[in-house]
């Protein structure tokens, strides 16, 4: 088709842009409330580890407007997980809707349903609870084999035995992997670096907190409208938790006010679902920001010890990683996230690598449960490995760019640490070289002291991620020919602001060779959408996008079959071009609009196709990031001047949206590196429980961002595309730690690197 008319590669606006930018009511809490909708609130535990001895809701029930107070006595006894994962989940079933045993400050004690906000608030104060406070495991270093057990109950169970959990030792999950003789190779290396790195349980902070509304459809089924990335998993999770048939539930999402993985866990859905099921009334739960920070699904706190062995010429021969991860009170996503620390960092250095080792333990503690956060463990692993490589370059007196080019994975290489998958498309070196040129690495890497005493310095990192969970994630698309030669695209993937509704429409538009305006898109709804695992694991463009192309191809065949009947010419002799079916000599044509009309008039050929797709591998996107800072040695303040990044996400479907993904991810990464702190007091209370204390970056703290692309072509992806959603958060932490080292001579191996620490501490 005409190249300049193509949708793929064009920076088109998101299909929902003008609705969002003019403030239309499109989010859960903006939608019309069903009549008599109850306000749901959670009474939360003030203790990190406690048993409920007595709970008395009689006074609360006397408050006018209070409709119900539910306690652990009222809920099903079957444990479940909130993790949005393909069944059987690798996360242990370790939760009840309400439990007598409270495992962290913020764990739900009672569930209140009232006619209005004031009555619900009053009821929170009126429920009388007597607790037996138990010793709490707050420091994850002390969790394993601690005499205090976070999950002493006998009905804890793991659906996947290979996840290595042992709750009697406070171990949520564990694993050992490796290839080659790491110890032997390390012993032969000229230089071995070994350090522990520490990353805290930073929060995603989608601007819209967790929220869910429930009512009943015309058939009396529980209808859940939620801010979620995972409608189909939510249906299953709620059915398990409530012990009700899956057929009695329908889940849909309206627009979502940001997810970043937070909403890959069913954090809020189960509670109003239970209230509505029990009271047979509509209900809604909106988390406060404090609740979202204290009882959400943040990143896993981790300590990662990296041992890296290299030769004097910079050849990296072995990497060994030992990870201690903090699940918090419940095990959502814990096993999978721990795995990615090594799976997505070590393969970057495949070229000269002879051996790798990887061991992880995920422990339970009495802190809030962790979950999925953009990067999903890779972010933690990357900080450790990339920082170690920067130190190696420094110790060897090599340029950190050169040491990376020397060891980086090349296209066609088999990556033993990446499930033995091959880098079928890889332009990592191209990313590094282009980034260095655009950033001015040669000029900016030398440390410069400015006339006012401030120090300018630079740092870098490279990274990879995946483009789905290999062989597991399922993406589906239903494409229907509609009136006027337009197409209705139905998906179960969840656009959480990233623009996948637009990206998938662009893909379909090119398949059908029709204008983007001819595509309408709807999703996600468990009744109406084809099955999709959900929008996570960087899978939507790559997996669901491919399903769109497959559905389009099949629909074209059906359109040809219909045209064949009308024209009386065999379908094999027809071609599809520019949204029409032609004879090979182009003398006869029947347009999609005409076929649509014909399809609704005495026709038996369905003009609707659903295709599902899964990919056996997860082709990694690659990226380089370089940062220039100005550090004030008197105050320790770090000002970001420039942040350059070059991404290989395969074909860039929409350059504007891809660029914003990169810019947004970089700024989130900057927050994790410099300002977003997490501290608990001795009783297990989170200090940073408001946005006043939990400091996400403002627009004055980002520096100038420069994003570009160095695409490879991934033959398995739609139009050659891979993923971009997660990889973009990975480079800031190691690049900034590198620049700060260059400016101060101090390596900081724990985050965040605050001005106080830069001035007061010697480094880690």
């Amino acid at each position: 088709m005409n190249e300049e008319k193509r949708s793929v590669g064009a920076a088109v606006r998101k299909v929902d842009s003008m609705q969002l930018l003019t403030g239309q009511p499109v989010y859960v809490d903006d939608l019309p409330e069903p009549h008599g909708c109850l306000v749901v609130k959670l009474l939360r535990s003030p203790h990190a580890n406690a048993m409920i001895e007595e709970i008395d809701a009689s006074a609360a029930m006397q408050i006018p407007g209070v409709v119900a107070v539910f306690t652990y006595k009222d809920v099903p006894a079957e444990r479940y997980t909130e993790a949005g994962q393909t069944y059987p989940e690798t996360s242990p079933h370790d939760r009840l809707i309400l439990d007598r045993h409270l495992r962290h400050v913020g764990d739900p004690v009672a569930l209140i349903a009232a006619e209005n906000e004031d009555a619900a608030e009053a009821a929170l104060d009126a429920v009388k609870v007597k607790y037996t406070v138990l010793p709490a495991v707050l420091d994850f270093h002390t969790a394993m084999d601690n005499e205090t057990l976070v999950h002493p109950e006998d009905d804890w169970h793991a659906l996947c035995p290979f996840t290595g959990g042992d709750p009697k030792r406070n171990i949520c999950a564990s694993g050992v992997e490796g290839e080659g003789d790491v110890e032997k190779v390390l012993s032969e290396c000229d230089i071995v670096l070994e350090h522990p790195f520490h990353i805290k349980a930073v929060n995603q902070v989608p601007m819209e907190t967790f929220r869910t509304m429930c009512d009943f459809d015309s058939n009396g089924r529980l209808h859940i409208t939620s801010s979620t990335q995972i409608v189909f998993h939510v249906r299953r999770i709620v059915a398990h938790a409530l012990g009700i048939p899956k057929t009695s539930i329908v889940v849909e999402k309206p627009r979502i006010g940001g997810g970043f993985g937070a909403k890959q866990t069913a954090v809020s859905e189960v509670y109003p679902a239970f209230v509505s099921w029990m009271t047979k009334r509509p209900s809604k739960l909106v988390f406060t920001r404090k609740e979202s920070l204290e009882a959400g699904s943040p990143r896993h706190e981790m300590e990662l010890t990296v041992r890296l062995g290299a030769m004097r010429d910079g050849t990296i021969r072995a990497i060994d990683m030992n990870v201690l991860s903090n699940a918090g009170a419940y095990g959502e996503h814990s096993w999978a996230i721990a795995g990615l620390t090594a799976h997505k960092s070590i393969p970057l250095y495949t070229s000269g690598l002879e051996a790798f080792g990887f061991k992880f333990n995920v422990v339970y503690t009495n802190r809030q449960s962790s979950g999925a956060y953009r990067g999903f463990g890779a972010t933690q692993g990357m900080f450790a490995v990339e920082s170690t490589v920067n130190e190696l370059a420094d110790k060897l007196g090599m340029d950190p760019l050169e040491i990376r080019l020397k060891n980086s994975v090349k296209e066609g290489a088999m990556m033993p640490a990446y499930y033995h998958e091959t880098a079928t498309s890889c332009n990592l070196d191209g990313c590094l070289e282009k980034c260095a040129e655009q950033f001015g690495w040669k000029e900016k890497f030398p440390v410069r002291v400015m006339p006012d005493g401030k120090i300018r310095a630079a740092g870098m990192a490279m990274t990879m991620q995946g483009s789905c969970i290999s062989g597991i994630d399922v993406g589906s698309a239903t494409v229907r020919l509609d009136d006027g030669g337009s197409y209705c695209l139905m998906i179960g993937a969840a656009d959480m602001g990233t623009g996948c509704d637009t990206i998938l429409s662009q893909i379909l538009s090119d398949c059908m060779e029709c204008p983007l305006e001819n595509i309408t898109i709807s999703g996600a709804n468990t009744d109406r959408s084809p099955y999709d695992s959900g929008s996570y694991a960087s899978s939507t463009t790559f997996v669901t996008g491919k399903a769109v192309t497959m559905a389009a191809e099949e629909l074209i065949e059906k359109m040809k079959a219909l045209a064949s009947k009308i024209l009386g010419i065999p379908a094999e002799q027809l071609v599809f071009e520019k949204n029409a079916v032609y004879t090979q000599d182009h003398t006869k044509c029947i347009t999609a609009a005409e076929l649509a009309d014909a399809s609704m008039n005495g026709n038996e050929i369905p003009m609707e196709v659903t295709r599902s797709h899964t990919n056996p591998t997860s082709p990694p996107p690659f990226m380089a990031g370089m940062v220039e800072i100005e550090l004030d040695p008197e105050t320790g303040s770090v000002k970001i001047l420039n942040y350059n990044a070059v991404v290989d996400c395969g074909t860039v479907i929409n350059p504007a949206l891809a660029r914003i993904q990169a810019e947004g991810g970089i700024v989130q990464g900057i927050g994790m590196a410099l300002t977003e702190d997490i501290n608990y007091d001795a009783k297990g209370n989170l200090s940073e429980n408001s946005l006043m204390k939990y400091r996400i970056p403002t627009r004055l703290e980002t520096g100038r961002l420069h994003v570009d692309f160095a695409p490879s072509y991934e033959a398995m992806g739609p139009f050659g595309a891979k993923s971009i959603g997660e990889i973009v958060i990975n480079t800031p932490a190691p690049a900034l730690a590198h620049a700060i080292y260059r400016a101060t001579g101090k390596w900081f191996r724990s985050l965040p690197i605050t001005p106080e620490r830069i001035v007061m501490e010697k480094g880690d």
Binding site: M18, L20, L21, T22, V205, M207, G258, I660, M692
Partner: protein, 154 residues
């Protein structure tokens, strides 16, 4: 108390608790563009214009609207539509949840200073948090709008 005020230029009169946050009052009147992101004056999502001045409606008691004029994005859609398309062209709307707040503040900025520099845009909007976009696309969008306006391309 009885609160009488102009909401998007139309007179409104109702009974409300004087201490009720203005955001709750506005949302109860159907002004769903007004969003709550933090509850304590940090995020800027709840920005509305009180007598033309941008305020954080989560920290303004409803009583303070009595006898005054309140504008929300519902009442300023046409003014917003002059420039928000340029932000859409950058893909910087993203999840959209923070959009009404910074669009309102951008309207206030452009009324106060019709030709701001990029630095002035960043400083004026510094109190409007966004977690998706990394901010720079919003600035590029506003810059492109200002350039288009100057060059007579609107």
């Amino acid at each position: 108390m009885e609160i009488k005020f102009l909401l998007n230029k139309k007179p409104v009169s109702l009974e409300a608790e004087p201490s009720m946050p203005l955001i709750d009052l506005l949302r109860s009147l159907g002004m769903k563009s007004v969003k709550c992101g933090c509850e304590n004056t940090v995020c800027g999502l709840c920005t509305v214009l009180l007598d033309e001045v941008p305020v954080l409606s989560c920290s303004v008691p409803a009583a303070r609207a009595d006898g005054h004029s309140v504008m929300t994005l519902e009442g300023l859609k046409a003014e917003a539509e002059e420039f928000v398309g340029f932000i859409a062209d950058q893909g910087a709307d993203q999840c959209g949840f923070c959009n009404p707040g910074y669009v309102m503040n951008t309207i206030a900025l452009l009324r106060e200073n019709p030709d701001p520099t990029d630095e002035e845009i960043r400083e004026y909007l510094a109190g409007n948090l966004c977690r998706c976009s990394g901010y720079e696309g919003q600035v590029r969008g506003i810059r492109n709008y200002l350039n288009a306006k100057k060059e007579g391309r609107l």
